[in-house]
């Protein structure tokens, strides 16, 4: 329970960002062809093109977050600072 509370407190932002990206990805996949044609775009002629584009434009942000927030190997054995650590 403390672990869940810790994640919600300190990492809710990236969870919601990933949820947002997933919603965009699914909406792209489910987009009807006749509605995609409303865009009149030569780059995006099918819904999955937008899903693919989201992999390059939106997904790198949470991936960068995860990469930046990873704990260096040397510190993994150390105790995290008080504010970072779930209560025992």
């Amino acid at each position: 329970m403390d672990r869940v509370k810790y994640i919600l407190k300190y990492h809710l932002h990236v969870i919601l960002y990933l949820y947002f990206w997933f919603g965009l990805f699914v909406c792209g996949l489910a987009a009807p062809r006749h509605r995609v044609e409303e865009l009149g775009s030569s780059l995006v002629s099918q819904g999955w093109h937008l899903s693919l584009l989201s992999l390059f434009l939106v997904l790198p942000v949470p991936l960068a977050y995860l990469w930046r927030m990873r704990r260096p190997r040397a510190r993994r054995g150390e105790k995290a600072p008080l504010a970072d650590r779930p209560a025992a």
């Binding site: 409303e38 939106v58 930046r68």
Partner: protein, 275 residues
């Protein structure tokens, strides 16, 4: 895929409601989280400023004839409540994601609930330059938000969440018959409401052909406006939060005053250019 979704009960009316309720839920989740970790002062300051900045500017955009939001349930002015609510929620998310990417785990220890008090010397980059630091952070916020909008806006056109003015000779707003009631059943805001704001902006598009440069089917000015909006708001918000000697009331008064100034300036600067 579409037929399969319809068989599951995910029909057009449901999809429209799901979009609206998802955005309102996102807002509530962020609001509750902010109260929890930042306390009431910063939460009210940030969410009220962002909500009303967007509500006023988006409504001006609608009344100017640039676009409409047809078929939603809850409106504030000429904009669905979900629109400004989700905008400030998205900005709330992105500001913290940027902080974590830039400051790594140092940004974890910045909650008022943990007893954190801002010491700007701990967070300024570039040898202590506050302005450069704020510019870089706000630019990252704006770029991350733009990346989302490049995908979101074409999807909004596909699913009829909002509808842009057609680019045709003589057309400066959205008239009858333009909006197909695809994906919704409540037929409200189907045309641009006729007000003096529409008459005022129509003079800047004397030949129609409004916003001819389209990227992925969306006016280029939309993406520029999104970038500028997020950049300006997060720059101002971060500037206020970095003022370690200011009290809560002063921070709130300054941010809200800046937003009051932003509304007419940004509405004029970002609606008029016929790119």
């Amino acid at each position: 895929m579409t037929a399969f979704l319809h068989q599951l009960g995910l029909d057009p009316a449901f999809l429209k409601s799901a979009f609206e309720w998802s955005l309102l839920s996102l807002f509530l989740a962020c609001l509750v989280h902010s109260f929890w970790v930042h306390g009431p002062h910063r939460t009210v300051r940030e969410f009220v400023a962002g909500f009303f900045l967007t509500a006023f500017c988006e409504s001006t955009g609608v009344l100017s004839g640039a676009y409409i939001y047809p078929g939603f349930t809850f409106y504030i002015f000429a904009t669905p409540v979900a629109n400004p609510a989700s905008w400030i929620a998205t900005v709330y998310i992105i500001i913290e994601v940027t902080n974590r990417i830039v400051y790594r785990d140092k940004a974890l220890r910045t909650y008022e609930a943990d007893g954190f008090r801002m010491r700007k010397e701990n967070f300024t980059l570039f040898g202590g330059s506050l302005v450069k630091t704020l510019l870089v952070l706000a630019l990252l916020d704006a770029v991350f938000a733009l990346a989302v909008d490049i995908i979101l806006d074409p999807l909004a056109t596909i699913y009829n969440w909002w509808v842009w003015v057609p680019c045709s000779p003589g057309v400066t707003d959205i008239g009858p018959g333009v909006v197909e009631p695809y994906n919704f059943t409540r037929q409200v805001f189907m045309t641009t409401p006729q007000t003096w704001i529409g008459d005022f902006f129509a003079r800047f598009f004397p030949n129609g052909n409004r916003y001819p440069t389209r990227v992925l089917g969306i006016p280029l000015i939309n993406f520029i406006a999104w970038l500028v909006f997020v950049f300006v708001f997060t720059f101002q918000f971060r500037f206020v939060e970095f003022r370690e000697t200011w009290g809560e009331w002063k921070k709130t008064a300054v941010l809200w005053a800046l937003v009051l100034l932003d509304v007419p300036v940004m509405a004029l600067a970002l609606i008029i250019p016929n790119l």
